[in-house]
């Protein structure tokens, strides 16, 4: 039998080319196929199936991010502009301006598996976040399992191998109590099944790898029923001398880890298309199978090889398998890959299957020939399989050989530039919106309870306890902490072995805001992530961000318009905070063809961040520590309640105004706050986000250390915030802090001229949350009863 074939394309017309792309599952457009046709006409030959597959991987949305690089004609409120690449304009150029303003902070960005920032003179830290949406929709356990496995490999393949030290996982699901008859398509897995599968998938991979899962979020919305979102992130640490890597001619290319099989064929191209009922049947092959122990052995090998200085270059095998990994290594320098050497899980695989298989747990390295004996010995020690795949040769040609035949011979230079896509987007600014006083809470205590029991806010404890968040022994600020060990925190903070400094990690997403005002969402996500890091003790000058977008159909101008606005909001906030983006990823086609038409997700931006905590004494939790402390509120509360959980519960999410972010003012406040942290004045701090001040106060009180007495009348407000807005608005930029009575004057002096006020105190007299408004009682509830509602919200479902 032949292991490859030539595909005649020279004589095909546009329609036939598109048909070919569809038959081969290449996910290439007609325009792309015509460009391919032109390249091979130039070379005066027909492509092989292997070559077409390689190009399809290289140009896939998953690998090349062509929508983020597209030329977009954006029309906002009738005014038109042309954006040449969202990525270049709003992420890369912006971050490069920030790099210039903070020399020495960002050590690597945008070209490696993950970006690195300086921790101290010797060490750097990095973070990478990926999505694994489509696989998790079809096979939740395996999809999430390999999602976390993949992002861990990204870290192992960052620099010459970074050590994974912490993970975060963010999910968007349909509500767990979704009724079966609400599902409008066959073959769709109920949100509860998706949630259970996904959480277990993350648990079983992360726990076995010995990487603490310390961060995360879960959003529930019916728009995610058909397209659940699964973001997996991992942070790493590396000695700074191992960040730079290069493939030169004359190196050996080796693979370490798992074997290659037919699992995970076309994952990269599959994730660049929409889902439908048939996907649940047909695309199962695209979902990989995870084996964390295989990866653990490969990880032990890579880190030891790095420390022995045996690695010149390393990358992971992710989307596109060897074709992407070898492509990344050899596309410029050139070289040969011998498929006969690849160890297979099953016999009879043809050339293209071997080359693009996304079988898991494989790392690809470029090493010096003289290092091979020691590397082989190391592979034996850690019981992992090492395969010599080929070599780099300086020709600039990527050659793939199988059974003594050349099955692929590509000069990759014409492939670097995929045809630029041209897209249209529109956005219409919503009408001026109603004031919160129109939706005044009639029973604030009942509304607070209802918020604390909302799926958006309830404790994630049943999920968190399934993750080992303590392994490696470095988790200082845990996802659940405080005196009773079960109160929510804003960031995770980790010790870093070999450094006096610590790493804070956090994430924010607000899809509910994006339904009404994606620009405000973009800015607020950056603010919330940044604020949570600062709250936990990170230095505001040492924070780096990641952007991960999930969007429905990019060919729908309104959906793309939402993304454009979101990116603009996000970029503006990041520039103000001087917080660079060091990595990011986007996922499109998160829509599903149901019987009643396509269902898209709302534009969902996840902002994650890492920050440097300069000293362990700066680590600050979010739970009340003592009675007789003073409670201060930093930041001004506005009247806008749009996008809030309160507004959604009242059914007025789209009617009320969504809050804007005044990041310049916020940053000044955060700087003063950080001064206060360094002076040791802050006992605890909690960001005010979903559920507003009311929920934030209750959450701080869940440590059970003291009762709270609060006067809403003292709260700094802007534009006449109503009582309801004071309680439940989600105005960004605000921090709630606990301060010892003796430190209050110093704290207020530090905030001279900024929005801050003493709004209450903690007390040993009772264990209630007592909120009044200038003498009138508004809420008076036992904290343990509120906690009961919050703590048990998810337990019936998970």
């Amino acid at each position: 039998m032949s292991f490859y074939r030539h595909i005649p394309i020279a004589g095909l017309d546009g329609k036939q080319l598109q048909q070919l792309s569809s038959d081969m599952k290449l996910s290439l457009s007609q325009e792309d196929m015509e460009a391919v046709q032109a390249i091979f006409k130039d070379w005066n030959r027909e492509p092989t199936d292997v070559e077409l597959e390689v190009i399809a991987q290289t140009w896939s949305e998953h690998c090349k991010h062509r929508i983020f690089g597209a030329q977009i004609e954006h029309v906002k409120d009738g005014k038109s502009e042309v954006i040449n690449s969202l990525f270049a304009t709003y992420i890369k150029e912006l971050s490069e301006r920030i790099f210039a303003r903070k020399p020495g902070f960002v050590l690597s960005a945008f070209h490696d598996n993950a970006g690195f920032i300086t921790l101290d003179d010797n060490l750097a830290i990095c973070l990478k976040v990926e999505t694994h949406n489509h696989p998790s929709a079809i096979e939740p356990y395996a999809g999430a399992n390999t999602g976390i496995g993949g992002v861990i490999r990204d870290i192992l393949g960052a620099g010459k191998g970074a050590k994974p030290i912490a993970s975060l996982d963010v999910f968007c699901f349909g509500a767990p109590d979704t009724k079966a008859e609400q599902l409008k398509a066959d073959g769709v897995i109920h949100p509860l099944g998706v949630m259970r599968g996904v959480v277990r998938g993350v648990r079983d991979y992360g726990n076995r790898m010995g990487i603490p899962t310390v961060g995360g979020a879960i959003q529930f919305d019916e728009s995610y029923i058909y397209n659940p979102l699964v973001y997996c992130g991992t942070a790493g640490v590396i000695p700074r001398q191992y960040i730079d890597k290069e493939v030169t001619a004359g190196l050996k290319i080796i693979s370490v880890g798992g074997r290659t099989g037919r699992d995970g064929l076309h994952g990269a191209t599959f994730s660049s298309a929409a889902l439908d009922t048939d996907s649940h049947e047909e695309d199962i092959q695209a979902v990989q199978i995870g084996n964390p122990i295989e990866e653990k052995k490969a990880a032990d090998f890579v880190l030891e090889a790095r420390d022995r200085n045996l690695i010149e270059f390393v990358t992971d095998c992710g989307a596109g398998g060897y074709s992407s990994a070898a492509g990344e290594m050899l596309s410029e320098v050139g070289g040969s890959i011998y498929l006969d050497e690849v160890k297979l899980k099953e016999p009879g695989m043809v050339s293209w299957e071997i080359f693009i298989s996304e079988s898991q747990e494989r790392m690809v390295l470029a090493v010096k020939e003289e290092s091979l004996p020691e590397l082989k010995e190391l592979a034996d020690i850690y019981e992992t399989e090492l395969t010599e795949l080929g070599d780099s040769d300086g020709t600039g040609i990527l050659k793939v050989l199988h059974h003594d035949e050349t099955v692929c011979e590509l000069d990759c230079s014409p492939l670097h530039n995929a045809p630029t896509r041209h897209l249209q987007s529109t956005f219409t600014t919503p009408e001026a919106r109603a004031s919160s006083s129109e939706f005044e809470s009639k029973d604030p205590a009942a509304d607070l309870k209802s918020l604390l029991g909302d799926f958006a806010i309830v404790s994630r404890e049943p999920v968190i306890r399934e993750y080992d968040h303590e392994v490696q022994g470095n988790t200082v600020l845990k996802p659940l902490a405080g005196a009773t060990g079960d109160a929510p925190q804003d960031s995770a903070v980790m010790f870093i072995d070999g450094s006096e400094r610590l790493m804070a990690m956090s994430q924010a997403l607000l899809p509910e805001w994006g339904k009404y005002d994606p620009f405000a969402m973009g800015a607020a996500c950056v603010d919330e992530c940044f604020r949570q890091l600062v709250a936990a003790g990170a230095n505001p000058d040492k924070i780096a961000l990641l952007d991960n977008f999930c969007v429905g159909n990019p060919e729908d101008p309104a959906e793309l318009g939402g993304l454009v606005e979101c990116v603009k909001g996000m970029a503006g906030a990041a520039e103000t905070y001087v917080a660079p983006f060091i990595s990011g990823k986007d996922s499109f086609y998160n829509y599903f063809e149901t019987d009643e038409g396509p269902v898209s997700i709302p534009v969902t931006a996840l902002i994650s961040g890492i920050g440097v905590v300069d000293d362990k004494s700066h680590v600050t939790g979010a739970s009340i520590r003592h009675a007789n402390s003073v409670i201060c509120l930093i930041g001004s509360t506005g009247d806008a309640i749009g996008g809030s959980v309160y507004a959604r519960q009242q059914g007025v999410g789209g009617v009320a105004q969504v809050p804007a972010s005044d990041c310049e003012t916020f940053l000044e406040q955060y700087r003063s706050y950080h001064e206060a942290v360094k002076n040791g004045w802050i006992l605890a701090a909690h960001d005010i986000s979903e559920g507003g001040l009311g929920v934030a106060l209750a959450e701080m009180g869940f440590s059970g250390k003291a009762g709270l007495e609060i006067n809403l009348g003292e709260q700094p407000v802007s534009d006449d915030a109503s009582q309801t807005a004071r309680l439940f608005a989600e105005t960004p930029g605000r921090l709630l802090v606990e301060v010892a009575a003796g430190d209050v004057q110093s704290l207020l002096a530090t905030f001279e001229g900024k929005a801050i006020a003493v709004i209450g105190r903690t007390t040993a007299d009772h264990d209630r949350l007592q909120i009044s408004f200038n003498g009138d009682a508004v809420i008076d509830e036992a904290l343990n009863e509120l906690k009961e509602i919050w703590k048990n919200g998810l337990t019936p479902y998970y």
Binding site: R465, H469, G473
Partner: protein, 251 residues
């Protein structure tokens, strides 16, 4: 170089708490090496005072936790670990290590099976020292203290419930949870053998070395020191070994 008590950590594919356990051992004064199981042979136990099997998921624990690690260890070491103990050596198994030591028969008969909740559980727990018999690993600790647990298969059971009761009464059950955590008979969290030189426990002492490891920022240890309970566990066995081997006198 000054001779210090030496600890050897055996590492299986899937062992993942070796680095922080070695760090904890070094923090109290041990010299410590991590040795992948592929390199292990009986002669590697020479000069070793304490053998540690740290936590993780050896070989994935896809069959009963610790079962494959037990088979591989026996293949590589025969009864060398039993001889090591008989000659006065100390053995510590944490979490997966406890499961492995139990399967190897180095600890009282019983099984560590799935938690009665059917779930993995990462939590801090309160522990109580057994009053019947002293353990050289626990000497420096108060009667009650806290450590984190993280396991799916930590429920200690015996063929007959009375056997577990006897284990506690006879001083083998040196560590119990103060409340029911996972369905363990008699709330057993840790066991020692007849000699007292072998200890297995589900909680993770290496994760509570400094006071900052505790979830409550206001946690203070009883002596006002900066260390967590786990530190004192490692320090206890360090001191025991120094004393028994006369290293202390020499130093």
């Amino acid at each position: 170089m000054e001779k210090r008590p030496h600890a050897l950590l055996l590492k299986f594919p899937g062992t993942n708490c070796d680095a922080e356990t070695a760090r904890a051992l070094k923090a109290v004064g041990f010299s410590a090496d991590v040795l992948p199981i592929s390199q292990v042979s009986p002669d590697r136990l020479e000069g070793v005072d304490l053998v540690v099997l740290s936590g993780g998921f050896s070989y994935g624990d896809y069959v009963m936790a610790g079962r494959l690690a037990q088979l591989v260890s026996e293949q590589r070491l025969g009864d060398a670990l039993k001889q090591f103990r008989d000659k006065g050596g100390y053995l510590l198994g944490i979490c997966n290590g406890f499961q492995i030591l139990t399967r190897m028969g180095l600890l009282p008969e019983g099984s560590l099976i799935h938690n009665d909740t059917g779930r993995f559980k990462c939590n801090w727990v309160k522990l109580k020292k057994g009053s019947q018999k002293d353990s050289p690993f626990l000497r420096g600790l108060p009667d009650e203290f806290e450590l984190p647990i993280a396991h799916a298969e930590g429920r200690f059971v015996t063929k007959d419930a009375s056997e577990a009761e006897a284990l506690v009464a006879d001083g083998f059950g040196v560590l119990t949870y103060t409340e029911d955590i996972n369905g363990s008979f008699n709330q057993i969290a840790g066991l020692q053998d007849e000699s007292g030189r072998v200890l297995g426990l589900m909680p993770h002492p290496e994760r509570f070395i400094w006071s900052e490891h505790h979830y409550d920022p206001d946690w203070k240890n009883e002596n006002g020191g900066e260390h967590g309970s786990g530190y004192y566990m490692f320090q206890s066995i360090f001191e025991e070994i120094e004393e028994k081997s006369g290293l202390k006198a020499k130093a």
